[in-house]
Amino acid sequence: MSENIKVVENATCTFCGCVCDDMILTVDLDEKRITKSKNACILGKAWFAEHYIEEDAPAAMIDNKPVSIEEAVEEAARTLVNARFPITYGLSDTTCEAQRQAVAITDSIKGNIDTTTSVCHGPSGIALQGVGESTMTLGEVKNRADLVIYWGGNPAESHPRHFGRYAVTAKGMFTPRGKKDRHVVVVDVRRTPSAPAANQFIQVKPGKDFEVLWALRALVKNRAIDPDIEAITGVSLETLQELVDRMKNCRYGVLFFGMGLTMTRGRHFNSGALLALATDLNEYTHFVAKPVRGHGNVTGADNVMSWQTGYPFGVNFSRGFPRFNPGEFTTVDLLAKQDVDAALIIATDPASNFPQAAIDHLAKIPVICLDTKTSHTSQLAHVAFRTSTYGINTEGTVYRMDDVPITLRKAFDSPFPTDEEILTAVKKRVRELVLAKGRARGATGESKAAAPVQAI
């Protein structure tokens, strides 16, 4: 350890959607390492501790050969502009500033843009569009919630500080005794490490969450439910009725939910059932719900997409304006159907975690990849940029899972450019090429002959 030490207070950990902004980072500026991350959880500690700069790694490569950033930008721009159906994907682990550039590029090239939301809480986004939601910032839970229910999520392992900072042991204005002022319920198909934090664990048969939520909705509305509900779902009518009484009689109730709902059969209808349950309960008391979002800035990606295009994910520009249709313009579908002829992948690794059919197509098309580390995707990329890490080497804005925006503080400099810098350069070059292409087309009268037709 060197003498050249800096302490960064109120830094933000962007590993998960909790986006805890109370980090105290000790930075060894010579070693370019974070040696201590006070207040971080086990995931956050690893996030900071394992962050090191591979000084020798090339900042840009074309077909796995090092090139200058300028050459890579040129090749990336040409690849995108020449494509007929290019996609942009990822974006949940970068700043809003970078996300804004990515949408601008996709608008210019009339491509398709989607974020990791589509394979995370995208179904919850669809559910929101169907039924709305009653929701809150996390501080409201800390200050007011006397009933907290986690459904199909395991925050003890995925969001370790969720309990302490916001929802279980946190002490607030009307909950001065923390956990003693709350009843906590965990609902899941398996007894996860989150279950011990709760006063009550309810185990649902796999794939029966919808049935349980639907029965709860009926009971809230005083409709009869047959006792065979236990045989179907594994949860007794008595347990359900008791939970309903508790929900109706609490002062401020919260339903948190995870991908146990969105990733299983029923998908958006599972999330929708939960959101509708929270809405129904507002006839009796104040009740809110919130998806426990994953990556550090996945919520920012939803926000940037929504304000720039009107839609939160799964957006297509091929007609010259944004259109939204999950299942048609979402990335897994497009790749698996082999509809795509180029891809710009930012801060994610679909080649590692997508269904095999989608990965197979990704391997066949030119991929442009921005990542802070070598990944499965960067290895198969035609153009690969190595960028600096948000929240450690860059400033910028991220949105916490409850849509609260937070400004990042930089711990130390990286020799690698930011995502925003690369994307801004690509955008500039793309715009030049698109304008040139448009003029060439205009000169031959081509574009006028085939004006786009009606929109659906």
Partner: protein, 545 residues
């Protein structure tokens, strides 16, 4: 480098400078209007056309957390109204809650060059400024929601006036806001903490906070006037939408005494009738009070028929509206600061209440004696989209058109109003006042809303037409900060306007009061709360008065 421009031969409507349709040349240089140009200008012949300052929207909802949530909520609304990009401009989605780009460009295509987002919770300030960066052409600022701020209410309760004033100023600075906004003051706590209830009158104290709405209103009127914020407290009164609420509105105005105050979307607060029963018009009582009190400005919040989106910090109101249709509804609580409700909505001619709301708005316009203090608004998108402003202008300017439209709506509603008896037609100059000069004055934007030397060169040029809706729908030229953005109805370049905010002074020691509250009850760190200057980009600090 902006070029020097001569707008030659137009009929100029510049009521702030007493010019009413005179034929004049205007010279623009370096983004401003100048007496004489320093070099040979590019001459644009606008003879036969009507020249006005760019429009100023004093109250709309165009950016920030609730607006974006309303966007996410309604793909069906965007889908039917796409906004294609051009060589110069970005694409977007329309509908009642357009994407940021569509919002900026569409305001521009109506000749508006400034708009104020009317309700942002402090913790969402960063968000609204980020969206402003992507909202082209127009200058913009926002009002920060402070009326249900628990810390400030505690200071009011404790009678700590001095600390209250510093804390309000601190919050304005920390969020880079334009003024303080009160929405249903005192109503959040019963909504969140007492099983979705609400305060029912201006003197009712909530159990948890023990402060009445009147105390909150009084405190803000006094403090914001003391601080000299360019715009007085912008108040959304209690009991919005409820029958008989005009008394609450009168009480709220009385609370101001002779101090400056702005009443938002006053149409929604001008209802007589028994609570719980159908409303009746109280536009006369309200208009009369406003007419006699020069300290008051208001915007109308006109209802226009068709699709709208209710989005408000008044969460109990949105829940009440949700009850009518049981369709999708959003509630969003913001810790220590605010509530929020969103309901997709539609105003229909045949519905008694909707027709009455429409009529009351028009009555208020027509009964108002001083156009300088009543501003054209639809509380976009609550009463309808800002895209319906041209039609609203025609309703005000064209008596025959208005009569035809009156025939199409619920007659029972009309019969309870005096709308049929009102023959007034707004003149072009009066329209220039209620859409530009008046709101600019109410905002203390000294360089906007007029065309005198030194003014911002934000100018709209219309072809003069008999059909005022068609005229105001499509200006031939729109100039923003001296740049010709729209020429012959087409975008010629992209442009990003300025961010407008104010910076009242305060005593730093207030921070030591705010911080402990913050550390106990907020979920982000105090040090990460205030918006830093990196978000400002192109901005202008409007001085206190």
């Amino acid at each position: 480098m902006t070029e020097c421009i001569q707008l030659a031969g137009g009929k100029v409507h510049d009521p702030a400078n007493g010019i009413d349709g005179d034929i004049r040349d205007l010279y623009l240089e370096q983004g401003r209007i100048v007496e004489t140009p320093s070099s040979k200008p590019r001459k644009i012949d606008v003879s036969g056309m009507v020249v006005m300052p760019g429009g100023v929207d004093i109250h709309c909802h165009i950016a920030g957390p609730k607006v974006n949530l309303a966007r996410k909520l309604q793909p069906e609304d965007h889908r039917r109204d796409p906004h294609p990009g051009t060589e110069h401009t970005r694409s977007g989605a329309g509908g009642t809650v357009p994407s940021t780009f569509a919002t900026g460009y569409r305001y521009a295509t109506l000749g508006y060059t400034t708009a104020m987002e009317a309700a942002v919770p402090p913790i969402g300030a960063r968000h609204v400024i980020e969206e402003f960066h992507d909202t082209p052409v127009i200058d913009k600022g926002f009002y920060v929601l402070l009326g249900n701020n628990i810390f400030l209410q505690q200071l009011i309760k404790a009678g700590r006036k001095e600390e209250f004033r510093h804390a309000v100023a601190w919050w304005i600075n920390a969020t880079k806001a334009y003024t303080a906004k009160l929405v249903n003051p005192g109503g959040d706590e019963p909504w969140k903490g007492k099983k979705n209830s609400n305060v029912k009158n201006i003197d009712e104290k909530s159990d948890a906070i023990e402060v009445s709405p009147r105390q909150v209103i009084e405190s803000f009127i006094e403090t914001v006037n003391d601080l000299g914020l360019p715009h007085p407290p912008h108040i959304h009164c209690n009991n919005l939408g409820h029958s008989g609420n005009f008394e609450t509105t009168l009480e709220t105005m009385k609370t101001a005494g002779d101090k400056r105050v702005h009443l938002a979307h006053i149409q929604f607060h001008s209802y007589a009738g028994e609570p719980g029963k159908n409303p009746k018009s109280a536009s006369r009582q309200i208009a009369e009070y406003v007419n006699e009190h020069p300290n008051i400005t208001c915007d109308v919040g006109q209802v226009m028929f068709g699709k709208s989106t209710i989005m408000t910090a008044d969460a109990p109101l949105a829940y009440m509206l949700r009850g009518f249709k049981k369709a999708k509804w959003v509630n969003a609580d913001t810790e220590c600061e605010s509530g929020c409700g969103i309901v997709p909505f539609s105003y229909q001619e045949h519905v008694y209440v909707h027709a009455l709301q429409w009529a009351i708005g028009l009555e208020l316009f027509l009964l108002s004696k001083d156009p300088w203090r009543i501003v054209l608004s639809t509380d976009h998108p609550n009463g309808g989209s800002f895209m319906s402003y041209p039609k609203l202008i025609r309703l005000l300017m064209d008596r025959e058109f208005r009569r035809e439209e009156i025939k199409r709506v619920n007659q029972k509603a009309i019969n309870g109003t005096i709308l049929n008896e009102l023959d007034r037609e707004y003149t072009l100059n009066e329209i220039a006042i209620i859409t530009r000069a008046g709101p600019a004055r109410a905002l203390n934007l000294k360089n906007k809303g007029h065309l005198g030397p030194g003014a911002d060169a934000d100018i709209t040029i219309y072809d003069e037409m008999d059909d005022k809706e068609a005229m105001f729908n499509a200006p031939r030229y729109v100039v923003k900060s001296g740049e010709v953005i729209i020429e012959d109805h087409e975008f010629r370049q992209d442009y990003y306007g300025k961010f407008l905010h104010t910076e009242p002074g305060y005593d730093e020691s207030i921070v030591s009061e705010v911080r402990p509250f913050f550390e106990n009850y907020y979920s982000i760190e105090f040090a990460n709360y205030a918006v830093n200057d990196s978000y400002l980009h192109d901005h202008e600090v409007i001085p206190t008065v």
